[in-house]
């Protein structure tokens, strides 16, 4: 299983993206981070910490569970429903720039669901997308604004982003599965 990013590289990548966010938005006024569960949430928290290091400003952070917005929920006639966890956005998103944070961008369907859910919470000024890995194979017209690493893959491979908070270690691994991987 080739390791395509180690802990050090992931840390430097997040620092770089934090600077990009500050530069692009000319500061952090009315900006908030929303992580897509599961691994988008700790990445968003780390980004918020980096942004505070750079600017001294605290950035509000929320968590989004997109399960109830998935477009494949009812296309699976047999089998368990995905587990639902809570969405937690403890601030108004109205007129804010929201940076949506996820670990891997693949078909774009997760991001589509996240956009639908976010918009049900209010009317943000803008939504930007940050991902740790963009592995390609988009099925929807969705493009990330901030990318940790572009990683060309085949559909028969899977990309796993591991984080200390959840997995006990930081790395990005690519592995062959032999079958098409769902998002």
């Amino acid at each position: 299983m080739p390791v395509v990013m180690d802990a050090d590289r992931m840390s430097r990548t997040l620092t770089r993206i934090a600077h990009e966010i500050v530069e692009r938005n000319r500061g952090l006024d009315r900006l908030a981070l929303v992580g897509v569960r599961t691994r988008g949430v700790p990445i968003a928290k780390r980004l918020a910490h980096q942004l505070q290091e750079i600017t001294g400003q605290e950035v509000p952070t929320g968590a989004l569970d997109i399960t109830l917005y998935r477009d494949d929920l009812m296309h699976n006639p047999v089998g368990p429903q995905p587990l639902v966890r809570s969405t937690d956005i403890p601030f108004s998103i109205d007129n804010r720039v929201i940076v949506l944070v996820d670990d891997v961008l693949y078909t774009g369907r997760t991001v589509r669901a996240a956009l639908d859910e976010l918009i049900d919470f209010g009317r943000p000024k803008a939504i930007q997308l940050m991902v740790m890995v963009d592995r390609g194979h988009r099925e929807l017209p969705i493009k990330a604004d901030y990318v940790g690493k572009n990683l060309p893959t085949s559909r028969a491979e899977s990309v796993a982003v591991h984080l200390v908070e959840i997995d006990g270690a930081d790395d990005v691994i690519i592995e062959k599965t032999g079958q098409e991987t769902p998002e």
Partner: protein, 335 residues
Amino acid sequence: MNAETTNNVAASAEAADVPSIPVNRLRTKDLLGIAELSAAEISLVLDTAVAMKEVSSRPIKKVPALRGKTVVNLFFEPSTRTRTSFEIAEKRLSADTLNIAASTSSVVKGETLADTVHNIEAMSPDLLVVRHSSSGACHFLARICRSGVINAGDGMHEHPTQALLDAFTIRERKGRLAGLKVAICGDLLHSRVLRSNVLLLVKMGAEVWLCGPPTLVPTGFGRTGVHITSSVDEAVEGADAIMMLRIQLERMLGGYFPSLREYFNVFGMTRERMSRAKPDVLIMHPGPMNRGVEIASDVADGPYSVILDQVANGVAVRMAILYLLAGGAEHEAAA
């Protein structure tokens, strides 16, 4: 309660288990009772309901999870809370809903329950939510239906979603169910809510005390591991939660106790009786309440009352059930 139901209650409670290995689905297409659920499945429903409750606090209280699914609410008995709660839950998940009451159905023309449901099934619903005055009606329908059947109360048998929302309310306030003392007082004989609650609380490791007039205590509960007493003071002593059950005058043919006033004097929940419980006791009631019969107004409306929380939590729990069943979970081979 007939002997078979008593045996089922006892057998289910004897098979009590504590949540060990988490599950991510319900084993069958139906929710017929708490008796059929494992502790892990109960935990799954309660955990899913936590997320569903958050949906009800949003500016737009609607998610597209059940878009394209059709849910038929078949209520052959009067209901305000349960029917409304199910309907709101269905709409919050974007399901298409249809309400059929007995008085407006062809049942009044002599059509059998099976024929009524077969005709509804011909229109391809995904789930049927059924309330019926006959115990076992939902089990009968589950056997003859392709659609999932959710028991919204069948006679004197079970009312599983009420027990689940009660458990959710206790767990939300106390953080757990295991080890808590729960006193259930009132008309035990006619209560389907009681049967579901006893099964659930015993499965989840709570200590259950039942209290009511001896004429309103069904036989068979002794084997479930619950404590039975006719002393309210003994039942509520050190209780973490007190559930008052409605005196079901519509199911009584008389003679169970001398008068409603005497019932209240001996078994009604008053502030004085409540003081024997824990300082942070929860006062619960499945509704509708008979004020001044099973519960005093100042208790029902007091600071310890979570009666309206139960109603709010009912929507979240029913959303969780609908979501978990609408995915079409596989039947176990044994089913």
